[in-house]
């Protein structure tokens, strides 16, 4: 455990990963290979890896898109990553010691085993119990009871371990949780039943104890299954960064690891690569994609003296950079650290089931104890009184309570998954019902992040064909959009001469002796005053003829305006906060109907705003997608992101919406409210059942038959209620 926490500190988030080994000659290495998609991939990877010297075996886990390799000690992750690259797959090493996936797998396997054993035992013992309840006498009854004991005692010892372990750890902290009465009931009933059958008694509660264990384990297993895989945000972040950099050492460029870079080093970043660490440009001019940090997807011009950040994508010019922060001290890394802190705080939320347990556990004990005392005073018969109090303990059925919440969460998560909504944390739905304010990010959340060209139909085909031909030479988002829209119109692309991309200005080329220019207004036609400059646009000119303006608008996701209306009808406050400039943000907010808007906002501001709202007692739902939202997402009461979001954002949210259907948020809220109602209904069912059952038990009318029946019927009632449409 301490090893786990150690690896979360900043300086060790880098991939100095090691394999796992219990054998001095070989070790296991894990890699994440997201491109696995068919049976052919499985063959290619396994066969391709096994051909390598030193690899003992390899196995692809198709569901998790992972590869596990057993190899001799000298093989490292780097060898495997290179080999997979040759086979056509990009991959990254997985450090399994940090990965808590392994532990979740182990836990669910253990639960499954215990479930199987208790299921087997409970069915068999029930078989025999039915014979006994139907009136088996004397030796038959004795035989069956002894066989039941033979099956029940070992099975109980094995399967109810999770409850006992949990109960002990809670008692050590001097607190009562749900597992304490459960463990007490199981333990006492086994002991009493054994005692009874030795004395040739008529009542033994093995079947009830086993059925109790079985149902409760079902609930636990369901909970374990709905606990979605969570990867640490730090892991996800490393995927976005480059691991190697080109460092200048005495005038020559050498390939080094990024974590070796120190402040003051000079690094070369060529076009098309990611900036390795925070720094200042000392040479070169280019445009970078800063969307990871600022959320803005219109490229940012950089030149000598400008600051650049780790994770920025260098689009079109080579840059020489002087390092100002080492990799564990970058802006990105600091945000990740904030995220870890917020996540730790959020785990302190007390869910409904915790609140129920707080009342239930002491209540049950008091009831059982008072029944015991009452009967002892009344009859002075120790055995009889003990029997009654055990009956009370068993019948207060922690099963219904133990099943109340997991069944609802499991069935709701399944329903939501069919709609394309992935619920990651089990308390997410409860927290959603408490929300009163929703904060949206703009780029990538309300918009698709793509820029759509809106006036292409006004441009004559021959002009469009030339403009598209020149734009096809650039990676700039606006150029790519022109190319795309021209292709979709079936326009012919012409070959051009002397194509040149000038970073920060545009593209120029020659066609049939004429000069073509595509780019910023200030460069293409600086003297034209008639063209307005308030929307995103790029300008095209042939020689000195007319200037054509290509206008662009951000593409808003489907159904967003209607969704916002619905949310406002539900009396929820809606706000847009964006890192993009204020004018585009204001315009967008107006077009979809949000009044509270703030543009040009830093990630820190978003987080502070949420903190401010929290302090005023508001419960905030944050919907965002980029790194600039990650800190805010972890600080909000609940958070959602689209599946197109950054992996680090996906790691820190509660709910992920697939297929970009952000407009499903009102439906999600409705379903969250329904599930909360169901949970409360389940608690009511359990409560009413207890109100009826406890007096019956205290008066001594509960035989093992009635106990088993009562328990099963209440559990089934609760589960059925959870599963209904």
């Amino acid at each position: 455990m301490s090893q786990f926490y150690k690896t979360l500190t900043p300086s060790t988030t880098l991939f100095k990963t090691e394999g796992i080994s219990t054998n001095p000659f070989k070790h296991d290495l894990f890699l994440h290979v997201p491109q696995i998609h068919c049976s052919g991939c499985i063959s290619t990877i396994e066969k391709g890896l096994e051909k390598l010297d030193g690899i003992i075996s390899s196995r692809v886990h198709y569901g998790l898109k992972r590869v596990m390799v057993t190899a001799t000690q000298e093989i490292t992750h780097d060898h495997l990553v290179l080999r997979l690259k040759d086979l056509g797959f990009t991959s990254e090493p997985l450090d399994m010691t940090v990965h808590n996936m392994q532990r979740i797998n182990e836990r669910s396997k253990n639960l499954l085993l215990r479930l199987a054993v208790s299921g087997f035992a409970c069915m068999n013992v029930m078989l025999m119990s039915i014979a006994i309840w139907s009136g088996a006498e004397d030796t038959t009854r004795q035989l069956f009871y002894w066989l039941s004991a033979l099956i029940a005692l070992p099975s109980l010892a094995f399967s109810s371990q999770p409850f006992f372990i949990n109960a002990f750890s809670s008692l050590k902290k001097l607190k009562l949780n749900m597992d304490v009465p459960i463990s007490l009931a199981i333990f006492l009933s086994s002991v009493i039943s054994l005692y009874e059958i030795i004395l040739d008694g008529k009542h033994a509660y093995f079947d009830a104890a086993l059925t109790l264990t079985f149902f409760l384990l079902c609930g636990r297993y369901l909970e374990c299954l709905t606990r979605k895989r969570s990867q640490s945000a730090a892991q996800q972040l490393s995927k976005m960064l480059s691991h190697k950099a080109l460092k200048y050492i005495s005038g020559n460029v050498h390939l080094v690891n990024v974590f070796e870079l120190k402040v003051g080093d000079r690094v070369k970043v060529s076009s098309g690569s990611i900036i390795p660490t925070d720094g200042i440009v000392i040479n070169g001019e280019s445009e970078t994609d800063r969307s990871i940090i600022s959320g803005e997807n219109v490229p940012f011009s950089v030149r000598s003296g400008d600051k650049v950040y780790a994770g920025e994508f260098n689009i079109n010019g080579s840059l020489d950079i002087k390092v100002t922060n080492s990799q564990d001290d970058t802006y990105l890394q600091r945000i990740v650290n904030q995220v870890s802190i917020s996540e730790a705080e959020r785990n302190k939320y007390t869910s409904l089931s915790d609140k129920a347990a707080e009342i239930y556990a002491p209540g049950v004990h008091i009831l059982a104890l008072s029944a015991f005392i009452f009967w002892i005073l009344f009859t002075l018969d120790f055995r009889y009184s003990l029997n009654i109090s055990i009956a009370v303990l068993i019948i207060t059925c922690p099963c219904a309570l133990g099943l109340a919440v997991p069944t609802v969460i499991a069935s709701t998560s399944g329903k939501l998954f069919k709609k394309g909504i992935l619920v990651k944390t089990s308390t997410a739905l409860e927290r959603l019902t408490e929300v009163d304010t929703i904060i949206f990010d703009k780029t990538g959340t309300l918009t698709t992040g793509k820029l759509k060209s809106i006036n292409v139909s006004e441009i004559p085909k021959n002009i469009l064909s030339l403009a598209a031909s020149i734009s096809s030479y650039s990676l700039h988002p606006l150029a790519k959009e022109i190319t795309r829209v021209a292709k979709s119109k079936g326009v012919k692309f012409k070959t051009l001469d002397k194509v040149n991309e000038l970073p920060g200005k545009g593209l120029e080329a020659f066609y049939e002796g004429k000069k073509l220019c595509l780019g910023k207004k200030d460069w293409v036609c600086p003297n034209e005053k008639s063209l307005a400059n308030n929307s995103i646009a790029t300008f095209f000119k042939i020689d000195n003829q007319k200037v054509w303006e290509f206008k662009f608008l951000e593409e808003i996701r489907d159904g967003v305006p209607q969704m916002l209306k619905k949310l406002q009808n539900l009396n929820l406050d809606t706000v847009v906060l964006s890192g993009d400039n204020a004018s585009s943000t204001n315009k967008l907010a107006k077009s979809i109907g949000i009044k509270k808007v703030r543009g040009g906002v830093s990630p820190n501001y978003k987080m502070r705003y949420i903190k401010y709202l929290n302090s005023r007692g508001h419960k905030v739902l944050m919907v965002g997608d980029g790194l600039n939202d990650t800190a805010a997402l972890s600080r909000a009461h609940v958070s959602i992101c689209p599946s197109t979001a950054l992996d680090a954002a996906k790691a820190s949210v509660d709910i992920i919406i697939l297929n970009g259907k952000i407009s499903l948020i009102p439906t999600l809220l409705k379903i969250a409210h329904t599930s909360k109602t169901r949970i409360i209904q389940n608690f009511l069912i359990a409560g009413i059942y207890n109100l009826i059952a406890v007096p019956i038990a205290t008066l001594g009318f509960v035989t093992p038959l009635i106990a088993a029946l009562a328990m099963s019927s209440s559990s089934i009632a609760v589960s059925l209620n959870a599963l209904r449409k």
Binding site: S39, G63, N124
Partner: protein
């Protein structure tokens, strides 16, 4: 009805064997990757290994 003296333990024994086999299967990761195992059948280059 004395046959029940044999039947009961025998059926319990058989059930227990089934349980042990299930236990072995879970420990041996047989249930780990259902989609992957489904895909593996479709491979063209099958050898004797599972």
């Amino acid at each position: 009805m004395n046959i029940i003296l044999i039947l009961l333990p025998l059926s319990l024994l058989l059930g227990a064997i089934g349980l042990l086999l299930f236990y072995w299967a879970v420990k041996n990761n047989q249930f780990d990757d259902p989609e992957g195992n489904a895909q593996r059948i479709l491979r063209d280059d099958l050898d004797e290994h599972p």
